[in-house]
Each structure stands twice: as structure tokens, then as C-alpha cells.
């Protein structure tokens, strides 16, 4: 019954976003600061724009100057032969507001924020800006923890498979990204909440019951994910190894930890549905990942 309910839902969603899948990211935004990381960040964003055949919008919080423009031009010269289409916006003010305002104005679909993981304080700072942006942003968001000038191939993508209306689109986008970046492997992680296991673990008998129940839940999750994958156009799924990994654990946390262990190059998540005061006080879901940033994270709106 459970599965049937979702099937119905999926069909509904499927019709809605089939067009979206074809080209989800038309415009890519990048918030830039003139830091030692600038070159790496620009290279990453430019490469993405070429992969996704999209326009690149560079947003700088601060006043415009010839010097700044010149240095950007110098760096992006390498991509000139590939016909990179880009635009620079200068605007002083509060970083979060400026970036969000410009993104909305330029209809950015994917906002890239770079940070060097080595710089501890900076990661924290970026983490906090990223958190504020994720709470407010209406577009997708990519957090780069280790931008590099040389292209590091993206081999393994981990994507969430939560029971959530947004999940289907997230998984579909993950396959799109995977095929564009030529990833080798895509793992869908289904986090199963502890409270779905009705049996309390006490002794051998309850342990047997829980083990059986867990196996059943695992199968349910697998079949749910398989249904989602069946609906995705074959061109995106045929060249990639697909793995399904059910995990029993804290939602939003386990997937980050898993991505770190599985040495994933990119973690793709649903955008959080609602943020209430309590959600911030007791971190969960995406908040766990933002505080620890296990790898590059892509949050799909």
C-alpha cells in the first residue's frame, strides 16, 4: 500500500519535471571574493558552466573596479576558446542579501560557493553563510570544500533517497549531473528513521524481530528507489553503476558520514522543506552536513 501511494505521487511529479531534467541548470551563479582561492573557484564554476552548457554569473560583494575586472578576465582567458558565456555583478552590502538578490535577479538556478577546507575558520564562516543561504535561497546550491585549478574527476556521487516529495527530482538531477560529469558510480542512500522500527531491542527474541523488520524495510526502500530509477530517461542511467544503500540512523547525519567513508566526490541532497526555530536549535537533516561538510555538497531546490 505504501509503495502504491508513492507510485501515484511519483507519476504526478514525473510529468511535472521531465522537462526540467533535460537542462536543470541554465544559469550558474558564483559568489566571489578576491582571496587566494579565487582562481580555483572560478575554474571549478567555469568548468561546470561548460559541462551543463549554462551561463555563468559572477557575483562580488563590493564595489566595482578595473583591477578586479581585469584579474577576472585574465583567469577566465583559458575558457575563452570554449565560448564561456559569463557576466560579472558588483554590489556592496550584506553578503547573504547581495548574493541572494543578484541570484534572483539573474534567474540563477545553481549557486556555487567555494571554500578551502584547510582554512578552519574560513570553512566555519562559509558554513555559516552557506547555512543562511540554504535557508533562504530559492535556487540549488553547490558547496565546494576543495576547489582546484586542475580538474579532479568526479567518480562517485552519493544522493539521498529520503521518503520526501522532492527526492524524485533530486535523484533525477543527480543522474543528470552524474552523466554530465561522467561519474562512474552513483549511490542512493536511503536513511531509515529509527522510529520506523516499532520493536524495542531487549533480548534475543526482540533482536530477531528487529532484524526481520529491518530486512523488510530495506526491501521496501530498494523497491521504492528502483521505481524512481525506472522513470529516469535511460540516457542518464546507462553509463553509471547504480548502488542502493539503506542505512538505519539519524536522518541527514548518516548520509554525510557515509559520503565521507565511501570517499564520495559529490553529495547531493534535497533542500530542507521547512525551517522552524526548533530545527535550528536541534540540528538535523542538512544542518549536520553543513557543519561538517564531508565533501562537495549539492543541494537541489
Amino acid at each position: 500500500m505504501f509503495v502504491r501511494y508513492y507510485e501515484k505521487n511519483y507519476l504526478h511529479f514525473f510529468r511535472n519535471y521531465l522537462t526540467v531534467i533535460q537542462k536543470p541548470f541554465k544559469t550558474i551563479g558564483l559568489g566571489i571574493a578576491f582571496s587566494p582561492n579565487l582562481k580555483a573557484n572560478l575554474y571549478e564554476a567555469a568548468r561546470l558552466a561548460l559541462f551543463f552548457e549554462s551561463k555563468l554569473v559572477l557575483i562580488h560583494v563590493g564595489n566595482a573596479s578595473e583591477d578586479k575586472l581585469e584579474s577576472l578576465k585574465n583567469i577566465l582567458n583559458t575558457f575563452k576558446k570554449d565560448n564561456l558565456d559569463y557576466e560579472v555583478i558588483f554590489k556592496p552590502g550584506d553578503p547573504v542579501e547581495v548574493i541572494l538578490g543578484a541570484s534572483e535577479e539573474k534567474k540563477v538556478d545553481l549557486l556555487v560557493i567555494g571554500a578551502a577546507k584547510r582554512e578552519k575558520i574560513f570553512t566555519y564562516y562559509v558554513g555559516s553563510i552557506a547555512r543562511q543561504i540554504t535557508r533562504k535561497a530559492k535556487c540549488s546550491l553547490l558547496l565546494l570544500i576543495n576547489p582546484s585549478i586542475e580538474r579532479l574527476p568526479c567518480q562517485h556521487i552519493v544522493v539521498n533517497g529520503l521518503i520526501d516529495p522532492k527526492t524524485e527530482q533530486t535523484i533525477a538531477t543527480a543522474f543528470y549531473v552524474g552523466s554530465k560529469l561522467k561519474a562512474e558510480k552513483l549511490t542512493i542512500v536511503e536513511e531509515i528513521k529509527q522510529n520506523e522500527i516499532a520493536v524495542k531491542l531487549n533480548d534475543d527474541k526482540s533482536l530477531r524481530k528487529t532484524t526481520i523488520l529491518k530486512e523488510r524495510l530495506r526491501n521496501r526502500e530498494r523497491s521504492r528507489i528502483n521505481h524512481i530509477i525506472e522513470d529516469i530517461p535511460e540516457e542518464f542511467t546507462k553509463d553509471i553503476v547504480i548502488k542502493s544503500q539503506p542505512i538505519f540512523g539519524t536522518q541527514g547525519y548518516s548520509i554525510g558520514h557515509y559520503a565521507q567513508i565511501a570517499r564520495a566526490d559529490l553529495l547531493i541532497m534535497n533542500a530542507p522543506t521547512k525551517m522552524t526555530f526548533w530545527d535550528r536549535l536541534f540540528p538535523h537533516d542538512i544542518e549536520h552536513i553543513l557543519t561538517e561538510l564531508p565533501t562537495d555538497v549539492l543541494i537541489i531546490q
Partner: protein
């Protein structure tokens, strides 16, 4: 339905064995119950009441399988304070309230409470309790009753008491002190004597029997008064009818005072810690490898404590020594706990007047030994080996417990441990930022369970890891990976070691990864990690026996390894080791293809004061083919007792001499009868006696439960070699 019927059938089949082990346990529970109650300055019978109420209620309602419940030694210190500050009638009220708290803990599923205490702090607290018991009772053991304010004063007084005892003029006191000393000697040397008939009765019961016999000797044979001074005899053991008539009045009037609730809290804390630790330890001994329902046990113990309090008994806890005796004597389900209570009632009904013939010093000798075992220098040495910082935790807890009290003691242990962790890591943020975060991930990869731990893992957040590990059946394979974890403390390492033992014993596999990385990280001096790896102590010089074995090895062209080997899992599947834990094997002699292997072995039976460490020489033969599982031993008195308890000898047709002289046990009667052909039977008939055991593909052979001489090793080896030829 058929499953249920089957359960009932196996229950009744196991009943004789459980009655027998219940009986043996009651033999040790009676003197301990009396002694623990008197050490707490409660009426002696209150300990027995606690054991009876506990035995009945916990066996019916509890969730563990082979544990025994009754008055616990950990509680002596707390009860002593409670009774001396509140008076006995209010102390009963405190006991009842602590029972209610335990019940609530059980309902709130707080069985994990004991995991929040660092293990060195718990060790320190237990050692302090040991010293409290020892310090107080040592003087009574030597018939020198004194009253001091402080526990430490009692300890400092010990040399003076010994001096006084040597110079007693009063023969009554002299006899009393002698009774104490003799009893203490019995407690010490009992475990060192391996005699079947002697071991049938536990040491505390020997003390009781001998002292009653002594008193009867003077009354009936010598027609004299008992020479032991009257004030050092147990008094105030009521007749059974009196116990029921004289239910004590319980005084709840102090319920609004602070000392009352401190006592209640201390009682609850110690009762739950002692019970939870005991249950955990006994689960490891369970031959049927069951998992206890800890929270259900807590509820049952709480209810039993309430009942015991109302009837004038002490707190009921799960006790380790008595439980291990239960396992060693074949107890297989909760009914043995019930029968232990039943036999205690029988003893009190039939022998309550005889019990008054026991001299107090004799009884207290049992407690002094218990106290000594809790605080033995051996424990301190073990802790020192783990690391110096553990010793700090241990001694801070110990001293604060002795000076101030149990709750302050354990609290100081927790605080000191945390401060030391901060110092070792030189970072507060590691703990501060990650304490509340989930840090454990578990998922199934192929057939394995993979567990990864992040940030830090110490007593503060071990419960998170434990919750995951508990969800894995012990027959599976688990890999715990600490490579993302910056700090792992001693408590965690020790608990992981326990898991490792449990998994290997039950056929699973438990591996810890990623800690070798920590060695390169100079920030963490990981003394705490020393616990897991196999310690291979290579001694430089060989003993004379070892050099002779070395010569023998050359002579017989065998290979000889003298060092201690802790990888002994090939022995786990033998029935003989089911309720024993193997420490290590050493002095291994093996032939070229390692099919025949003799070795010295150290293993232990039981836990705590019932613990006996045994060294023996054994022979292990790997067979090329499968044979039925069986045990073959000499026919004797003990076996007849066991036969009464449910085992059956398998007769071999046409070999009455063999059947008469040997005792053959096994499940698959037909296969065993087919296996014992004329040739094999004749081999056993015409050769010396050995204990021979088969686990299906290997044979284990040994003579006595002690190390063999060189000659005996030769004989054993020869026997094994010929047996291998006959069998294959």
C-alpha cells in the same frame, strides 16, 4: 504451538540440573547472606530474606537467564551509612524507595545507565567498597570489636588488632580469632585444591559445616561449653515462624529529610551499577549464548527490593559470584534462581537453630576475603598496565569514596576522567562541539556490518556506539572503524574487548580498525589502546621445565614454542570450555603438519570470589574426517551425581567392562554407538584413563586439571598419536 510444547519439554528436561545448581548456589548464598547483612549492621536474617524474595520474584519476572539475585557486597557500604544515620526502620523505607526508583529506571529503559561511568572510576569505587568491608570486618574476624568514625581509621588499626590477637589471654577470644583465621585460610586455599569431592561444596559452606560440627563436638562428645566466646557467636536468627510474625515496622517519617534521599539515591545507584555489571559479565558465561533483557531485569529487581524491604530484607541485586557458581553447576534457566530461594527457605525452616552455632569471626572471614578480592593489588596492577592516567582516576575515586561517600566518589571519578581527557587532547572543542552530535554510522555492506565512528568516542557518548552494536546479532561479522575518530578512551576499548569476546564465543567476528593511525598522531598518547592487541610476553629465560620440554621436542622432532598464545579459538567449540574462559596457552609442542599439538593452558572458572584459575596440560588432535561429538570420562561418584541431574551414559553393546568403567556422553546416541567399534573400545579399555572429548572434527585429551610432568607429557603424546591412528 509445537514450539511452545517443545519449550515446556526442554524446561522439564533441564529441571533436575537446575534444582541441583540451585542447591549448590544456596550453599554459598546462606553464609554470604548472613555475613553481608551483619556487615551492614542489619539483622542477619535480612540478607537471607533479600535472597529469598529476590530469587522468587526475579526468577518469575526477570529478563536474564542464568543470573542469581540476592544481597550484594557493593551495597554493604551504603547500607551501613543508611542504617547508622537513619536507623534500621527508616533504612527499610529507604530500601523500598530505592526499589521503586529501580522499577522506574527499568520502565524508562535506562539499563544503559552503567555505560556512562568510566570503567576505572567503577573499579575505584568497587575497591573502596572492598576496603570498607575489609577494614570493618577484619577486626571482628580476629575477635576484636572496635568502633571508629572513619573507614580509614579502621584500616590503620589493622596492625594493632593483629598484635592484640597474638597476645590474647582470654581463651574464648583466642578460639574466636582462631575460627576466623582458619576460615580465612579455607577461603584462600579452597580454589587451589582440585579435588572433586571437596569442590562439591563451596568454601563458605565448608566454613559453616565445620564450625557447626565443631560446636556439636564440644556439646555431644566432649560435654563442654563451646570454647568460643559467646559474644562472638551469631545471634538473633529467628525461627521461620517468627520471621512471618515479626515483620518489622517501617518508618517513613524521615522521607522529607536530605540524608534519607541521599541514601535512597546511593542505594539505587550502586544497586543498578552492580546488577548491570553482573548481568553483562554473566551473559558472557551463558552456555546457551542468550542475551539478557536488562530493563526487564531492572524492573524485577526493583519489585523484589520493594518486597524485600517490606518483609525486613535488604536490597536485591544481581550477584556475580553466585551467578557464576550457578553456571558452573549446570544452571540453564531462571528456575535455578527460584530453587536457590527455595533451598534457603528449607535451610531456615530446618536449621535456624543450628545456624546460631556459627562463630561470627568465621562468617566475617568470608567477607574479609570478598573485600580483599574487590581491592586486591592485582586489580591495581592491571589498571597501572593500562596507563598511568587510569591509576589517577582509580585513586581519586577510591579516596573520595572512602573519605566522603559513594555518590561523591563516583562523581569525582567521572569529573577527573573528563578533565584528563581534556588534558590529553589539549582541546575542549573536540568534546564541546561534538558531544551531542550523532557520531556513529552503521550499515550493512555485503554480509558485514560496518560501523564508523567520528570525532571522539569515550564514556560520555559510548551509549551511541553501544546502541548500534547491540542491534547486531552476535553471529554476524562486524567491523568497527575508528579512522575518523580522534580519541578513543579506555572505557570504550574495554567494552569493545568485551564485544570481541562475546562475538567470537558465539560464532561471529568482531574487528576493530583504524587505531594504528593514532600511533603516528603524536597528539594522542594512546596508552588506552594497549588493551586490544594480543600481548605476547616473551620471557627471556626459560624455566627448567621449559628447557626439558625443549630437549624433548628435539628428541621427538617436534617444534616447540614457549611464548603465551592468546589465539585459542580452536578450543572454544569443546564442551569442556563452555563455561570456562581460556586465558592463554603456552609451551606448545606440535608435530610437522601440526595435527597433534600438546600445550599448557591457563583457564578460569567462575567469576570474582568463586573464580578459580586452573593450569593444565592438554593434547589437541586435528582429524581428517568427521566423527560424532562425545565426551568420554572415567566413571565415578561425581558422574553419578551428574547422571542424576539429567545426563545419560551411553552403553556400548558387548562391552560391559567399558560401559562400567567409562562414562560416555553425547547427543547423537546412535552415531556414537556406531563410532565406538570393537577396535576403538579395546583401545580405551587397554590404555590409561584420560578425559577425551570430540567436537566433531577435533579431539581434546587431558589427564588431570594441573600441569603435566615431562613423563606425563610423553605418555599423553604417545596416547594421542596411537589414538589418532586408531580413529582414522
Amino acid at each position: 504451538m509445537s514450539q511452545k510444547k517443545n519449550n515446556i519439554k526442554t524446561f522439564f528436561q533441564a529441571l533436575p540440573k537446575n534444582i541441583f545448581s540451585g542447591f549448590v548456589v544456596s550453599l554459598i548464598a546462606l553464609p554470604l547472606g548472613l555475613g553481608l547483612a551483619m556487615a551492614s549492621e542489619a539483622p542477619p536474617i535480612s540478607g537471607v530474606i533479600a535472597a529469598v524474595v529476590g530469587g522468587v520474584l526475579v526468577s518469575i519476572l526477570g529478563g536474564s537467564n542464568v543470573t542469581i539475585s540476592g544481597p550484594g557486597n557493593g551495597l554493604v557500604g551504603v547500607l551501613l551509612v543508611a542504617i547508622s544515620t537513619l536507623g534500621i526502620e527508616s533504612a527499610y523505607a529507604a530500601i523500598i524507595c530505592s526499589g521503586a526508583l529501580l522499577l522506574i529506571l527499568g520502565f524508562l529503559r535506562l539499563g544503559k545507565l552503567a555505560d556512562f561511568f568510566p570503567s576505572s572510576a567503577i573499579q575505584g569505587m568497587l575497591a573502596a567498597i572492598g576496603l570498607i568491608i575489609l577494614g570493618k570486618q577484619f577486626h571482628i574476624m580476629l575477635a576484636h570489636r572496635i568502633k571508629r568514625e572513619d573507614t580509614i581509621d579502621y584500616l590503620l588499626e589493622i596492625p594493632f588488632t593483629i598484635n592484640d590477637a597474638i597476645h590474647y589471654n582470654n581463651t574464648g577470644l583466642l578460639y574466636a580469632a582462631a575460627a576466623g583465621v582458619i576460615s580465612f585460610v579455607i577461603m584462600i586455599f579452597y580454589s587451589k585444591i582440585r579435588n572433586k569431592y571437596l569442590q562439591l561444596i563451596p568454601a563458605p559452606m565448608w566454613i559453616v559445616i565445620l564450625s557447626i560440627a565443631f560446636s556439636y563436638y564440644f556439646e555431644l562428645v566432649a560435654h563442654q561449653n563451646n570454647p568460643i566466646a559467646l559474644e562472638y557467636m551469631i545471634s538473633g536468627i529467628p525461627e521461620f515462624s517468627e520471621i512471618i510474625e515479626q515483620i518489622p515496622t517501617i518508618d517513613f517519617s524521615k522521607i522529607d529529610s536530605l540524608p534519607f534521599w541521599t541514601s535512597v539515591l546511593a542505594l539505587t545507584l550502586i544497586a543498578s551499577i552492580e546488577s548491570l555489571l553482573s548481568i553483562k559479565a554473566v551473559d558472557k558465561l551463558d552456555p546457551e549464548k542468550r542475551r539478557s533483557n536488562v530493563n526487564r531485569d531492572l524492573k524485577a529487581l526493583g519489585l523484589a527490593t520493594i518486597g524485600s524491604g517490606f518483609l525486613g530484607g535488604l536490597n536485591v541485586v544481581t550477584v556475580i559470584a553466585r551467578s557464576s557458581v550457578n553456571v558452573n553447576n549446570g544452571g540453564s534457566n531462571r528456575s535455578s534462581n527460584f530453587f536457590h530461594a527455595t533451598f534457603l527457605v528449607v535451610f531456615i525452616v530446618l536449621f535456624s537453630s543450628q545456624l546460631q552455632r556459627i562463630p561470627l569471626p568465621a562468617l566475617m572471614a568470608i567477607l574479609v576475603y570478598t573485600g580483599y578480592k574487590l581491592a586486591s593489588p592485582e586489580n591495581i596492577r592491571k589498571i597501572f598496565k593500562i596507563g598511568r592516567e587510569q591509576l589517577i582516576i582509580f585513586f581519586v575515586t577510591l579516596l573520595v569514596t572512602l573519605k566522603i561517600g559513594l555518590i561523591s566518589g563516583i562523581a569525582s571519578g567521572v569529573v577527573v576522567t573528563f578533565i584528563l581527557h581534556l588534558i590529553i587532547n589539549k582541546s575542549f572543542s573536540l568534546f564541546g562541539r561534538n558531544l551531542l552530535k550523532p557520531n556513529v554510522l552503521m550499515f550493512q555492506e555485503d554480509r558485514n556490518y560496518y560501523v564508523s565512528v567520528k570525532h571522539f568516542c569515550s564514556f560520555l557518548n559510548f551509549y551511541k556506539l553501544k546502541a548500534k552494536l547491540d542491534a547486531v546479532p552476535e553471529t554476524e561479522d562486524v567491523i568497527v572503524d575508528f579512522s575518523l575518530c580522534k580519541f578513543v578512551d579506555h572505557t570504550v576499548m574495554e567494552n569493545l574487548n568485551n564485544y570481541q569476546e562475546l562475538f567470537t564465543k558465539r560464532g561471529g567476528h568482531f574487528e576493530v580498525l583504524g587505531l594504528d593511525l593514532h600511533d603516528t598522531d603524536s597528539k594522542h598518547p594512546f596508552a588506552l589502546r594497549r588493551l586490544l592487541p594480543v600481548p605476547n610476553v616473551i620471557k627471556k629465560s626459560l624455566t627448567r621445565r621449559q628447557t626439558t620440554i625443549e630437549e624433548l621436542a628435539k628428541d621427538y622432532q617436534l617444534s616447540y614454542v614457549s611464548k603465551k598464545e592468546r589465539e585459542t579459538h580452536f578450543l572454544d567449540s569443546f564442551l569442556f570450555f563452555r563455561v570456562k574462559s581460556i586465558n592463554y596457552i603456552y609451551n606448545q609442542l606440535s608435530n610437522k603438519n601440526e595435527a597433534i599439538n600438546t600445550f599448557d593452558i591457563e583457564f578460569s572458572e567462575g567469576e570474582f570470589i568463586a573464580k578459580e584459575v586452573v593450569r593444565s596440560t592438554m593434547l589437541h588432535i586435528k582429524l581428517d574426517k568427521s566423527i560424532p561429538e562425545f565426551t568420554l570420562d572415567r566413571e565415578g561418584f561425581l558422574e553419578k551425581v551428574y547422571a542424576f541431574a539429567g545426563f545419560k551414559d551411553i552403553p556400548i553393546a558387548n562391552h560391559t567392562d567399558f560401559s562400567k568403567r567409562f562414562y560416555l556422553l553425547g547427543e547423537d546416541t546412535k552415531a556414537i554407538q556406531a563410532f565406538f567399534t570393537d577396535e576403538i573400545t579395546h583401545f580405551f579399555e587397554s590404555n590409561p584413563y584420560y578425559h577425551v572429548e570430540s567436537n566433531g572434527h577435533d579431539l581434546l585429551i587431558f589427564g588431570r586439571e594441573r600441569l603435566a610432568s615431562i613423563k606425563e607429557i610423553k605418555a599423553l603424546y604417545d596416547f594421542g598419536k596411537r589414538l589418532q591412528q586408531v580413529v582414522s
